[in-house]
Amino acid sequence: SDSGGKQEEQKADAGSGNVATTPRIKVALITHSKAGDTFWDIVRRGAEAAAQKDNIELQYSSDPDGAAQANLVQTAIDSKVDGIAVTLNKPDAMMPNVKKAIAAGIPVTVLNGGLDTWKQSGAIGYFGQDERIAGEATGDKLKQLGAKKVLCIVHEQGNVSLEARCQGIKNKFGVVENLNVDGADQPGTQATITSKLQQDKSVDYLVGLNAGVTLTAVQAAKDAGSSAKIGSFDMSKEMAKAVKDGTVQFAVDQQPYLQGYLAIDAIWLSKTNGNSIGGGEATLTGPSFVEKSNIEAVEKFAAAGTR
């Protein structure tokens, strides 16, 4: 091929840094992700980077089912890991086993979800964003951009953090309607959004709750002949391009890479140096807005899959 392809992009590869000389330890990262999700891929990449640097053997596992995720924590305890980083999006299911791990002397950090509950579990740190605050910031942003009616596209019905984002937007903005789509089915999502835009022509702003869905929404708006503008949560390589060429107005970034990185690094720091990142308080990794004005700074990291 004359254009595109792997050979074009290989130059972008970066080298790896030095490795800590501390003894090798084992840390489990346990999330509620489904397989093959872009967002969690970036989280994992951050965690891997930290593990590499800190001479940690990282064990990643995930299960979207609450009880099964809790049992993964038990599995980590059984495997006698030296630390656990865990998402607490379903705190009630997770709490008993997290407490058990802490009681067994395993330091635990919490990432992404569980802002309200992490402290009560006894974890040593929290790294994530407050979804409602992120939503509210988005609501303010939309007001500032002059939106009139907003469609909030929920790609996983019944997911607490997605609901919180839409609720946050609603708190600050008001005229918001939710639309449920199936995030695992892009063409179907596209048709559903198209039909919604055909049904309600007053919608002038779409907000996707992850990068993939937002990019699909771009297509859908085109299909429906709608002039609605588009905003997004979360970043990706393609999203960076879209923000740059103006098809997407803004993306609310919660820096998933940072979440993964810090959750692992915090365990290492605590073990090797007794540090506590955040000093006993939550460390917020977002929201930060990526727009045309600041895309230059983010673009190349997004291309490398770390933003």
Partner: protein
Amino acid sequence: MASTIAAPADADDRVSARSIGARLLSRPEIGSLVGAAVILVFFLVTAEPFRDLNNAGTILYQASLIGVMAVPVSLLMIGGEFDLSAGVAVTTGGLTAGIFAYQFSVNVWVGMAVALVLALAIGLFNGWLLMRTGLPSFLVTLGTFFILQGLNVAVTRLTSGAVASNSISDMDGFTSAKALFASEFKLGGLTIKIIVVWWTVFVAIAAWMLLRTKIGNWIFAVGGDAASARAVGVPVKKVKIGLFMTVGFFAWFTGMQLLFVQNGVVQSGEGVGKEFLYIIAAVVGGCLLTGGYGSVVGGAVGALIFGMVQLGVVYAGWNPDWFKAFLGAMLLLATIVNLVVKNKADAR
């Protein structure tokens, strides 16, 4: 007490003639057609944008997303088997083409050819293993389902470092391939996606093949009673393996559509759960889960019902929380109408 009653006339006069109408009503797909009509009327009444003919393109597109795969899945079901790997095989097809073209920096069409070979090989493997072991297809294809699902994610990460394949939208051959799989055209005020045209063509060919050729006859036979079919000399193994490979071919086709409609990028986690939508479309369309009975047109109508309900709820502007509940009620409604029609037809 013996009594000899006069013997009745010898000719068999017990059969009252059936009207053409009654005969039409006994086709497998008729029930789903009536079900589709009921749902169409329902949404025409309740959802205003449904009445706008220009939006028909969107509904057809939604239906075609399930409908294309419902074609081979209906055939396979009539042939007495399932394929649980059909959903993820689509993703595998798209990923393979994308990853291969990108990694080896070759023309997109070369990647597509490789993907086609792989998709057919998956079908061959499913069919072969099924015939070799005699295990139920549920089990065999469940194994393939998990394996493909795992490989999709793992190989994508291995090659692209992320969970989506690298975009091939700037590579040679992309534009021509996209025109074939993911373009659209205007027909009056109606925007028709090319996949809808393909869908129609596939349904027509498959329906013709099923009803008018030897192979079609064999498909009914192996699904209805494989042992008897084998006993009269039908090559049961070849027919079944052929059906799985047909699923493979369509998975490739749908995978290409996925690849080109998404600008040359495929998410590796997609496709899971889709296999059931295909099966649902086939069953709603009148195919018997146990094989030996059904129609391709029925499967297409099943996909249409599904598409109409999915978008109808949106067009009607109902509270999205209730969407699934509506969908379920509509499905039950459609199938019960289907049943009532069939019973009525049998009674004539």
